[in-house]
């Protein structure tokens, strides 16, 4: 399970970095989204990968740290997702404005000289 998640995070991050370095604004937005998926998974994994355990202490069970999942990374991920969502929306608006004002979707606002 750890291997799959690690590979998944690596793939997302790799795709994200590659796309973020591309010259078109839409690719950059997609790259940032991929990177934020990778980061969200990474935060989640920091609470350790444990299946089938609730993120709270059940009264019936003893208060044992290994019997429940860490709830804090889940809360952090939620916050990070919301913030990434909002900033991506903002960036999309800026992208459209830049496309409209400069007439090109190149990140520098002008096509490179041939």
């Amino acid at each position: 399970m750890e291997l799959i998640i690690a590979l998944g995070i690596g793939t997302f991050a790799g795709c994200g970095v590659w796309l973020m370095l591309r010259p078109r604004t839409f690719q950059v937005v997609l790259g940032l989204s991929f990177l934020s998926y990778a980061v969200n998974l990474f935060i989640f994994v920091m609470g350790w990968v444990r299946g089938g355990r609730p993120p709270f202490i059940e009264p019936a069970l003893p208060a044992d740290a290994s019997a429940f999942a860490d709830p804090l990374p889940q809360a952090l991920v939620l916050t990070a997702i919301v913030i990434a969502f909002a900033t991506t929306a903002l960036l999309l608006v800026v992208l459209l404005a830049a496309r409209g004002l400069t007439g090109t979707d190149h990140v520098d606002g002008e096509e490179p000289a041939e």
């Binding site: 973020m20 990374p73 952090l76 800026v94 004002l101």
Partner: protein, 510 residues
Amino acid sequence: MIEHLVVAPIVLPLAIAGALLLVDDRHHRAKASLSLAGALALLGIAALLVARADLATTHVYRLGGWPAPFGIVLVADRLSAAMVLLAAALAVSALWFSLARWHRAGPHFHTFVHFLLAGLNGAFLTGDVFNLFVFFELLLAASYALALYGGGAQRVRASLHYIVVNLAASLLFLIGVSLVYGVTGTLNMADIAVRVGALAAEDRVLAEIGIGVLAVAFFIKSGMWPLGFWLAPAYAAASAPAAAIFSILTKVGIYAVLRLWLLVFGGTSGAELLAFGGMATLLYGVVGMLASQRLGVLAGYGLLVSSGTLLAAIGLGGASATAAGLYYLGVSTLGVAAFFLLIELVERAREAGADVLAVTAEAFGVRTDEEEEEVGFAVPAAMAFLGLAFLACGLVISGLPPLGGFLAKFALMHALLREEASITAWSVSALLLGSGLAATVAFGRAGVRIFWASERVPPTIRLAEIAPIAALLALCVGLTVLAGPVLDYLGAGARVLHAPAAYIEEVLGR
């Protein structure tokens, strides 16, 4: 009741921003008065916090009454209180300046400024790393809007880069925070400091990597070379009042480095990186200043010089160098902010397009209510004021006597060379002197081009535009006159930073 004062700098701007959203843009007078009243109230609160930071009473505010490290704490020690005061002073002058015309150039200017203030104050006051991230995002989101404020292709193009770079930096921030949490199991800064000290060697490496990634994020925000290429174009393109407030944004990164690095590592590991990174930034800023053709870009590189100086001072020195650095931080931020506001007026004297627009508006009989309330005066008083203000900004930024920039640099070099007269300390001092010379050259050249040019158009400037610049420069003069008490205060704050046991004890309540 008075203990709730610590949370007021965050709650008040949020409430004002929310209330401003409800007021329609047509009632711009009501909006402006509410916004300015809020900023002035914030200034008062910040001054009270600064005064109270000297008392021996508790400075920790536990949100919701939850004990640390489980709840989130706010800490108003001397450094935090001083930063909040600086942010409030900048906000008041920028809002005041915007009243002349900028606040009506687009929707929700005041709202954005107050959200930015909430984020800034939260970042300065919080004692929790994830909370720091959230406040960073709040201030960045508001700063994106302010960077775009006024519109135009130039701004949108510059803002696009600014937003993408800062989003990437935020992702690095998250990676760093989660690594630190994964190793130490806590997000409270004081608790992190305690637990990192008690870690096993292999876990300590992970924690150091986490803090290293965090530091990269802070370095991007503070514009350290080679991570600061985004700064000058974005700040030069922003509207004048927005750019004036932005001059404190780089200091947020510096503040975070200062706080976390001294708290967790006690200023040991990574000191060389800070010192050399700071020197490289200083050098890059100096070269940029000399090469810049436009005043906005010049001011942007001035900010980089100030970031570089601060990073080198933090990395090299002990408590007295930090205190001198903090004094420099205040003076240089005020100076650059005044310069950003001044640029707008100076450029108006040279902007051909603006005059054509004014002429056509007159020819077509277009009269706005703006013209009727105009309290403008043309040459020679306007030009004389601009020249004097330009001179004062140049003196502060390049660090020439008699203004505060000189005292700050002198105190810094004194502290560096007295504490350890190493080669690094000598080269930082040489760079400081060299940067002063380069800044003098750059300012002199720009001043000659602007004020001694033969065909200049006397600009019409208003009292609302002159007053905030004069106020910022008066603050610089005040900091110069009161350098003794201010340096004492900052010195006490810096000593606490360098001996973090008291901070940890107070936050964790042990």
